[in-house]
Symmetry: C2
Subunit: 243 residues, 2 copies
DNA sequence: TTGGCATTTTGATCTGCGTCAAGGCTGCAG
DNA sequence: CTGCAGCCTTGACGCAGATCAAAATGCCAA
């Protein structure tokens, strides 16, 4: 399958109003003339290459970012030196809000593939939110969702087995692809086994073994990072969590 | 030690402006005449008794709450039936923001002791935030802090040993007491071992054993839920995280 | 005071996943 | 083509913390 940016090139998406992702990104439920105002503050940068950093932990917070294509990984390093992957961001998703509280990003964001993002300067977003109640509400909801997602992840990591965690992760990826009208069953994982393991609190070997078992039980087919979920309900049964 | 509400009775704290907690609660950095507007929408209910529910997972979201005295525990039950304690809220802290995204609370909040809270109806808070840029900003920061706190907790639970987790937890409680001008070393734990274990992804037996080891190593003294941190630096060394 | 229930502690044993080690696969550079 | 580096898989073994069990302690009500 072609990457999304090739099926719907960047240069055709010159504004928020005609962006294919606008139903899952910021402008949700904002009136047309309001989208224009939002559009004026959004900056569309040049594509990031694999490995490029979008922002770094500890650097000054200025903007939040919406992913347009590709995939971004966010991770933070604790004072004790532990590295923790805090999230993967796919097209239509917003990252960077963790920087608001301390005026510095609390994580580093790196492109996992060639990616494109929209930069939204936060001060301007704040001003606009004062004028557009729906935008303010949308932003409160967005942050609240990040909180509930983090709490679900905490439950997953602290209460579920390795198989349940990996199954939930695959189903989460699947659901997020579905939201973008892409295949529910067949997709590419943009991150390494290392990243998956770190995110889920598992070692790379355990992730590999669990995927091997899923394959043996005919739940999935895997070839490197290409994934096919052969038995969605079977995987849901393993995850014991609704996705 | 007397509970705070007895040293500083409720009926003397009739408004936000003279509330002893206002430096760590909402009105931070808000001008005096703005505090009055905020004060008008805040509702001060009667005290909650131990075990009383402030709100329930799945019920309609209407308000966020500021703890005035006592202690509140928030927990959620996943579709698979796992119970996860998502946080403990002490005087000056805000809870309930997890309900914004889906218009329903994603957790249940229960009083661990006799407690008093201020109720802040969210629709009115939203309206006021449109008029008071500082309040909007404060609220964005508050939610962003909740996100970064959750991510730190995730790192703690997924990357650290039982001893590191318990030590970090005790230091976190200590730091939050210090913020309220209370003893850094001596305080009462309002929650059970069960709750601590659940919060940290450990069993009650492990929590008990770790506390026993800390006691043996003269890091702490414990008598039930009364705690004295005898060696703060020693405990910090065990936690390997700055608190 | 006594009884009963919830909470905590302590001990013995078990196990899922981490750790260590080795080998395979893929893609790129020369 | 060959060699090398990154990434992934597979196997053998050990251990931190879970589980199972039971006793100790605290707390409140009658």
């Amino acid at each position: 399958m072609l990457p999304e940016e090739q099926r719907c090139p960047h240069n055709e998406q010159v504004n928020c109003a005609n962006c294919r992702l606008n139903s899952i990104c910021l402008p949700l439920a904002i009136a047309d003339d309001d989208i224009i105002k939002l559009d004026e503050i959004v900056q569309r940068g040049k594509p990031l290459h694999k490995g490029d950093k979008l922002y770094r932990q500890g650097s000054d917070f200025r903007s939040v970012y919406a992913v347009r294509s590709g995939a971004i990984k966010a991770y933070s390093v604790s004072p004790s030196g532990e590295e923790q992957v805090t999230g993967f961001y796919l097209p239509g998703e917003i990252l960077g809000v963790d920087g608001i509280s301390s005026h510095r990003y609390s994580s580093t964001a790196v492109a996992l593939d060639t990616s494109a993002v929209c930069e939204i300067p936060f001060e301007q977003l704040e001003s606009l939110s004062l004028q557009l109640p729906k935008l303010q509400r949308h932003f409160f909801q967005l942050m609240s969702r990040e909180i509930t997602d983090d709490q679900k992840l905490l439950t997953l990591v602290s209460k579920n087995s390795a198989e349940e965690r990996v199954a939930s992760f695959l189903l989460s990826m699947s659901a997020r692809h579905t939201r973008r009208q892409l295949s529910e069953q067949r997709f590419h994982l943009p991150m390494s086994r290392q990243d998956i393991g770190n995110f889920l609190g598992l070692t790379i070997e355990t992730v590999s073994r669990v995927l091997g078992r899923f394959k043996k039980n005919l739940l999935i087919e895997v070839d490197g990072r290409d994934l096919f979920i052969a038995d969605l309900d079977g995987l849901r049964a393993v995850a014991r969590v609704n996705h």
